[in-house]
């Protein structure tokens, strides 16, 4: 497709996206988080505080101009740790979604196209099994069977995430396959591979992409919860959930140690949700 048409397309997409000012806010927040995560060394006031650092003289200081979010029990600047913590949140979201989505989508496409056959039954019932286990319980089970590390937490979340995409794409694919353009492709003699990936899949993209954007918030939340209960990233890793957990012992006296990481978890999730709403508006009706 030539560049003229692409520019037109993006101008139109922006028009739809920016109809709601909150979507722009979401986009701004997300871009800021990504930027800060990548260049945390630059943005953090005390980058050396991120991991292992001790300064008991300055420990448990409340928020001040030197430490905007205060310091924690080891004397580390909380704001700097939070900025580095963004990395773990984003890495978790990106890894989980990029690993869970492809197989989920693929299975959904196949099951949806072969609706009402044995393929459909097997795939969807397996998905149902995964979906029927409460996600936290499954994640906890996987994590406790293996060593508690960030990597294993991501694995656990991935394992229980794919069926949501299967179900989503199953619904979309099974209705799209009845559209005339799919039948036209069948009549022409196109292969099943082409029909799945050339005809049906492109029409599912909007739905998938919208869900992925909204899922980032969920993955981060679950990841933080796992860290909070000690099954994810371990100290001294500046993971936001771990930070909330570490600080919980000091509530209410040194409330800032838990509050600010928690607040930023909320901000990240909110940012992605607002962005996701905007993405949905942008892609809706396409």
């Amino acid at each position: 497709m030539n560049t003229e048409l692409m520019k037109e397309r993006w101008k139109r997409n922006w028009y739809k996206f920016s109809a709601n000012p909150l979507s722009i806010l979401g986009l701004a927040v997300v871009l800021a988080i990504i930027l800060i995560a990548i260049f945390a060394d630059f943005f953090a006031p005390y980058p050396e505080h991120a991991f292992v650092f001790v300064d008991f003289k300055n420990a448990k200081k409340p928020p001040s101009w030197q430490n905007l979010c205060g310091t924690d029990m080891a004397g580390r600047d909380i704001l700097s740790r939070i900025f580095f913590g963004f990395r773990y949140s984003l890495v978790m979201a990106v890894s989980v979604l990029s690993v869970a989505t492809p197989p989920g989508v693929l299975l959904g496409l196949i099951a949806g196209y072969m609706r009402d056959t044995w393929v459909d039954t097997i795939v969807m019932r397996v998905a149902d099994v995964f979906l029927s286990v409460p996600s936290m319980v499954l994640a906890l089970a996987v994590c406790s069977m293996l060593e508690p590390t960030l990597y294993n937490a991501m694995l656990a979340v991935t394992v229980m995430w794919w069926p949501w995409y299967t179900r989503l794409v199953y619904g979309a694919a099974s209705s799209i396959k009845n559209e005339y353009f799919v039948q036209a492709a069948e009549v022409t003699g196109a292969s099943t591979f082409h029909i799945l990936f050339g005809e049906i899949f492109p029409n599912c993209l909007s739905t998938i992409f919208t869900k992925m954007t909204l899922d980032v918030g969920w993955v981060i939340l679950i990841g933080s919860t796992l860290s909070f209960v000690g099954l994810g990233a371990q100290p001294p890793t500046p993971d936001l959930g771990t930070m909330v957990s570490d600080g919980s012992k000091y509530i209410p006296a040194q409330w800032w140690i838990s509050l600010f990481p928690a607040l930023f978890i909320v901000i990240i999730i909110l940012g992605f949700n607002l962005l996701g709403d905007g993405v949905r508006d942008m892609l809706a009706g396409d």
Binding site: Y180, F181, Q183, A184, V187, T188, A190, H194, N203, L205
Partner: protein, 318 residues
């Protein structure tokens, strides 16, 4: 003497649903000759679209035989040989959904060429040629279907159907979704292509005035059965089946000349019953003014009343 290109014998297509078996097509037989346009007319629930889809293989026949150029093709599309799919093509009812909104016009028209092994640069040349044939500008190649009008979409669908040089095209209500001026343009093009490229058409529409001017022969369906088949002029000037008469007399027309050629008004009674619960005997009997006791018991046979004119009604055999 025209050769037969498509022969349908006692075709049945039933669907199993929660409410029971839907007898969408319930034993129909007809032939289509080379170079002709066979029109299939009927209201909703008549089974005309199901017939088309079964002929094209989108549905697998429940029973009966379909023969194309002498070879038996009574299977679903996946089991049919690739060479057959080159020859039989289809234009669908709704231009909006018969083109994939996520693909460009070039990709859409090139798909049949790709499937049948044409090389990439050959494909592009052929697509440009096809666009020229349907009078669309070359810069439409990169456009998305959503950016062009309904009539133009249908032209793209026709270009796609012509891509592999088929011999038989099924047209399912090709102009129903379009306005009158677009309709005229498209039908004229279709007629032009038929002459130039020696095509045979199965033409489905509920618009009888259109059918009058397009079809060589017409068949009318009701609840899965063919009621009457005749050459077009005979069908419209001498309809014999009570349903045909009812339908023809209900057509809204503008001019008084047209009003005069319509059969006497048969006030339409009742509605088409559900295909799950078909009436006994002749399917049309509950709505028929000429219904007799025999009609309620026995399904009438298809009788050749005069050469080429077939009627399925007990009044014909009395």
């Amino acid at each position: 003497m025209s050769k037969e290109i498509l022969v349908v014998k006692d075709l049945k297509k039933y669907f199993a649903t929660d409410e029971g078996t839907v007898r969408a097509v319930d034993g129909i037989s007809f032939t289509i000759n080379e170079g002709e346009t066979f029109g299939l007319v009927g209201e909703s629930g008549s089974g005309k679209s199901t017939t088309a889809y079964t002929l094209m293989g989108i549905y697998t026949p429940t029973a009966g035989e379909i023969t194309y150029k002498g070879k038996d093709i009574s299977t679903g599309i996946k089991k049919r040989p690739l060479s057959l799919k080159k020859e039989m093509q289809m234009v669908f009812q709704d231009p909006g959904s018969s083109l994939n909104p996520k693909r460009s016009i070039e990709q859409i028209i090139a798909l049949p060429l790709q499937v049948h092994g044409i090389a990439k640069d050959e494909r592009r040349k052929r697509v440009i040629e096809l666009l020229r044939m349907v009078e669309l500008p070359e810069d439409y190649l990169d456009r998305q279907p959503t950016k062009i009008g309904g009539g133009e979409k249908q032209m793209v669908a026709i270009a796609r159907a012509l891509a592999t040089n088929p011999t038989f095209i099924t047209l399912d209500e090709p102009t129903s979704a379009l306005d009158v001026s677009m309709q005229a343009k498209i039908i004229n093009k279709l007629i032009e292509f038929q002459e130039e490229l020696d095509l045979s058409y199965l033409f489905i529409t509920h618009n009888l005035s259109l059918m009058r001017n397009v079809a060589t022969r017409v068949g009318i369906m009701y609840l899965g059965k063919l009621c009457e088949v005749a050459p077009t002029s005979v069908f419209f000037s001498n309809p014999l089946h009570p349903y045909t008469k009812m339908l023809l007399s209900s057509i809204p027309v503008i001019t008084s000349e047209e009003e005069a050629v319509k059969p006497d008004k048969v006030v339409s009674r009742g509605e088409i019953p559900s295909p799950v619960n078909v009436p006994s005997g002749c399917y049309f009997h509950p709505r028929c003014n000429e219904c007799t006791e025999r009609c309620m018991r026995e399904d009438p046979p298809m009788v050749e009343v005069e050469p080429g004119h077939f009627v399925k009604c007990h009044t014909m055999s009395e």
